[in-house]
């Protein structure tokens, strides 16, 4: 096996992963926020709070993954 083949697959795997780890926290946050709002009868307050958390953690996920890999490849 050529030395570059595992690297190509590794980057391909991370490429598909980055899109998903950005999206999953946002969808999860929307679901959880609306669920909590429905249970407590609050008017979209938790939905907004959870969306902010979800978007933040989506960004954090992507940032951490990319930075760790850049550091490792240096």
């Amino acid at each position: 096996m050529s030395r570059d083949v595992p690297n190509i697959f590794k980057n391909l795997a991370l490429l598909t992963h980055i899109g998903m780890i950005m999206m999953i926290p946002i969808f999860g946050a929307v679901y959880l926020g609306s669920l909590v709002d429905e249970k407590l009868g609050t008017n979209h307050i938790f939905l907004i709070v959870f969306i902010i958390l979800g978007v933040g953690s989506g960004f954090l996920n992507v940032y951490k993954t990319i930075m760790k890999n850049i550091k490792k490849q240096k």
């Binding site: 595992p6 991370l14 598909t16 992963h17 780890i21 954090l60 996920n61």
Partner: protein
């Protein structure tokens, strides 16, 4: 399609439903155990026949693990090899008219949870529990909920990608076979001529290409995450 695309219940053991996923996993396990027994029964100093293939496979997995995780983490090679071989066999099961066990989110979530626990266990073991848990407060302690959510996204991402790819292929193939059978009946063909040739390229793409690629991606990501948690 009648009954949807979910796995059928084959039988029950003490009220616990045993689905196609479980029985097909048993079949794959039995075949792999049989293969490893036959392949390792008579080792010779100069490898011949099957031993050549097995040595090539084992050597390839060890090299892949060393290149991806680093030589110091070569101990993970047996687990990664098992995972890769199981996933390849499971994803290719569709070619043998078996429902792939990975077309059930329970299987993929189970495998992703093993990876999830490995990431945190080996991270804690290498860095120490205190230092590892303190990493969740980085860069500022208020980020703790975001860090926890971001860690939970990993097993969901791993399991849904594999499940989605395999079940997507399974549904498209089922619809195609159903459609071709309907077309054959409409024309009045007594033999399933359409089903014999037309699905071949799609099987090649959905079962062989996507199946092998997804197995590789799952194993690769497991290696990347475990090594990232330890470094």
């Amino acid at each position: 399609m009648e009954g949807g695309f979910g796995p059928k219940i084959v039988f029950e053991i003490a009220g616990i439903p045993i689905t196609e996923t479980v029985t097909n996993t048993w079949i794959i396990m039995a075949l792999l155990i049989l293969f490893s027994f036959v392949a390792t029964r008579k080792f010779e100093y100069m490898p011949r026949g099957l031993q050549n293939f097995v040595e090539l496979l084992v050597d390839g997995i060890y090299k892949l693990t060393a290149q991806t995780m680093g030589k110091d983490k070569i101990g993970f090679a047996p687990y990664i090899g098992t995972l890769l071989i199981y996933l390849v066999c499971a994803n290719l099961a569709g070619l043998f008219a078996l429902r792939p066990p990975t077309a059930d989110v329970n299987t993929t979530m189970g495998l992703a949870l093993i990876t999830f626990f490995m990431i945190h266990f080996f991270g804690m073991k290498k860095k120490g529990v205190g230092k590892y848990l303190k990493g969740f407060l980085d860069p500022i302690p208020i980020m703790l909920p975001m860090n926890i959510i971001s860690e939970l996204a990993t097993p969901i991402s791993l399991s849904f990608r594999l499940f989605g790819n395999i079940v997507g292929g399974l549904i498209i193939m089922s619809l195609l076979y159903g459609g071709l059978a309907g077309l054959g009946a409409k024309i009045g063909l007594s033999m399933p001529i359409f089903q014999a040739a037309i699905p071949v390229p799609l099987h090649l793409y959905f079962d062989v290409f996507a199946g092998v690629l997804q197995s590789f991606i799952f194993s690769m990501l497991t290696m990347v995450f475990v090594s990232m948690a330890m470094d």
